[in-house]
């Protein structure tokens, strides 16, 4: 009788144990967690990249981020992904004047390039600098009504119940249960992938490495751009600083003539800081791969680079907070030939080895 009792208890104990260790479908602990550091290749002329201590780059994290970046299931109707507005072949923009979300609602701003984005986060991301980190930024488009128009609860549910994502999260972040997948981890993975988007192999880079040479026209354009060798100062290099040909600052580059700073249609930086002097100011975008990212400006108003150069050469439109460099461009009176030289120089910033890099392409294809 006593033996039967003990036997019965053991059976119950065994069943309970089995249920706990093998029957929990959410358990990921049997999958190996051995992340490997991602070999980020940074050109010697580039600065060091600030990588948050709590989100080091790993091969597994970058891989997960790449899948998430291209996964249309992150949008409410499964029609768009991050990559829909950041296409590699368009220098990680969408080559449209303004981006359109899943509901066909046009936004108010053009998609910004993501190349070298890991280096330029200092003053904030987006045209108006409203987020300070890539991890913070990556959370926003999913829920934005004019972008993916989803909600993170649904996205996280999708990721938890996906046949492959839980394992990818486990390998990237070491979670031992799929219920531990969060939007913050998804954002970390996206940020990791974005930090790998380094473009540093354009003709200008090869020239700096003494592997190629400027044509005469390109060289003249470079001198104008950077006021080098006592060339007239076309003022470009003051805001589009090397090596990214952009900056972390916000400027009013003379796009709109307004009689009052409160009359800017898009307040830009001012919409974030609440300061009227910041109205109409926008982050200086990178000019790397600029040949591929038409149309131009935060609202895509210029269809060609020729139009852009013409705008600056004219000294821009007046507003009380126009950047002092802009009216000075008109002072030097750029000739037609000089404008062509600047254009030729801009084309040396094209890096197709970056836009065609297999590591950055859609992993679902």
């Amino acid at each position: 009788m006593n033996i039967t009792y003990v036997f019965a208890i053991l059976i119950v104990f065994f069943v309970a144990c089995k249920d706990k260790s093998e029957g929990n479908a959410d358990d990921l602990s049997s999958i190996a967690y051995a992340p490997t550091s991602y070999p980020l290749s940074i050109p010697t002329s580039f600065p060091k990249m600030d990588i948050p201590a709590d989100n080091p780059l790993t091969t597994e994290g970058v891989s997960l981020g790449r899948f998430l970046f291209y996964d249309k299931k992150l949008s409410a109707n499964g029609s768009m992904s991050c990559a829909s507005c950041h296409l590699p072949q368009a220098g990680f923009t969408d080559a449209r004047a303004v981006s359109t979300g899943i509901d066909n609602i046009a936004g108010t701003r053009s998609s910004m390039s993501l190349e070298n984005i890991g280096f330029v986060v200092k003053s904030g991301l987006f045209w108006d600098g409203r987020t300070k980190t890539l991890e913070e930024q990556a959370l926003l488009p999913v829920e934005d009504p004019i972008e993916l128009h989803n909600n993170w609860t649904q996205v996280v549910d999708f990721l938890k119940n996906h046949p492959e994502y839980p394992e990818r999260f486990r390998r990237a972040f070491g979670i031992d249960n799929k219920q531990l997948i969060t939007k913050e981890l998804a954002a970390k993975a996206l940020a990791q992938f974005e930090r790998t988007l380094i473009s540093g192999n354009a003709k200008i880079d090869k020239i700096l490495r003494r592997e190629e040479e400027f044509s005469d026209e390109e060289f003249a354009g470079w001198q104008l751009f950077f006021n080098a060798n006592n060339a007239p100062d076309a003022q470009c290099g003051h805001c589009h600083t090397s090596p990214f040909f952009g900056s972390t600052e916000f400027f009013n580059n003379g796009l709109d003539s307004v009689s009052s700073l409160n009359l800017f249609k898009d307040k830009g930086r001012g919409g974030v800081t609440g300061k009227q002097w910041d109205n109409g100011k926008f982050r200086t975008p990178t000019l790397r791969n600029i040949e591929l990212t038409a149309p131009y400006m935060h609202d895509g108003r210029f269809k060609t680079l020729e139009e852009v150069i013409e705008h600056y050469a004219s000294g821009g439109h007046y507003a009380d907070n126009i950047d002092p460099f802009i009216p000075q461009i008109k002072q030097i009176g750029l000739t037609t030939r000089q404008k062509k030289q600047i254009l030729a120089f801009l084309k040396t910033l094209t890096d197709t080895s970056f836009t065609k890099n297999p590591k950055f392409q859609d992993p679902f294809k």
Binding site: K48, S247, T248, P327, Q331
Partner: protein, 251 residues
């Protein structure tokens, strides 16, 4: 057994004495800079009079390096405290009267505050150790890592920036840009200030400086020279940084 006893007694001592291998700073030294224009605190973007014309100053910043304090009032090179390799003073946020009145403060740690009575620095970026380097050699958020503070053609950091807009023709529109940037080793301007630095009971001291912007512009005619990135700009560049000798005053 002896070794065990030694370890038991000695290791905790080590842990208490040197938690991170560096000594603890004794004191805090604040340097506060207030920009003045026509003897009033300069509010960025506010309209001010310039020789009968209206201007709006939109940017004023400068590098100092190195930041050193000493005890010998007769010798700027007798340094007892090397506080920082560089500091960046930026008046960009002093865009209302309260902030302009408060000025811009940089804080430094001081390990020995006995008899400190000198502050030696240079306006610009140290020509021996720093100005031969480039932004990619520094980590963000160090201002030296910001490519916007470097000018390739000069092979130099931009030591000072003074930018603004002028209503040159008096029509109410500020259409003329002013971009007085300085840089290049020749423009580096060593500075030496002597004043007994008194630390309060909480081991904090503050040195207050006024930067007289009118004095910075002395003998520079913005009506004729409104940019320094042109051929022949060197005299203006040198004049602007040398003007710091009289424009920057320790109160």
């Amino acid at each position: 057994m002896k070794q065990l006893l030694f370890l038991t007694l000695f290791l905790p001592l080590l842990a208490v004495r040197c938690p991170d291998g560096t000594p603890t700073p004794l004191s805090t030294l604040n340097l506060t800079f207030k920009a003045l224009y026509n003897a009033k605190p300069l509010v960025i973007n506010q309209i001010v009079d310039y020789n009968g014309k209206k201007i709006r100053i939109t940017k004023l910043s400068f590098f100092m390096s190195p930041v050193r304090f000493g005890t010998d009032s007769g010798n700027p090179n007798n340094v007892s405290e090397f506080a920082a390799q560089s500091a960046f003073i930026d008046f960009g946020d002093t865009d209302d009267s309260t902030k302009a009145l408060k000025g811009v403060t940089q804080t430094f740690n001081v390990f020995n505050n006995n008899n400190l009575q000198t502050f030696s620095t240079g306006i610009g970026v140290d020509t021996l150790f720093l100005n031969n380097r480039k932004p990619q050699n520094f980590f963000s958020p160090d201002p030296l890592s910001d490519a916007g503070n470097y000018w390739d053609d000069w092979k130099s950091y931009i030591f000072t920036k003074f930018e603004g807009l002028m209503d040159k023709d008096g029509d109410g529109r500020f259409e003329t840009g002013i971009t007085i940037h300085t840089g290049g080793n020749k423009a580096f301007q060593p500075m030496f200030f002597v004043k007994k630095i008194d630390f309060s009971t909480d081991n904090t001291a503050t040195l207050n400086f006024n930067l007289n912007v009118n004095e910075l512009l002395k003998d520079i005619d913005l009506m004729t020279v409104n940019s320094t990135h042109q051929t022949g700009s060197l005299p203006t560049i040198l004049k602007f940084t040398s003007n710091f000798q009289t424009a920057l005053v320790l109160k």
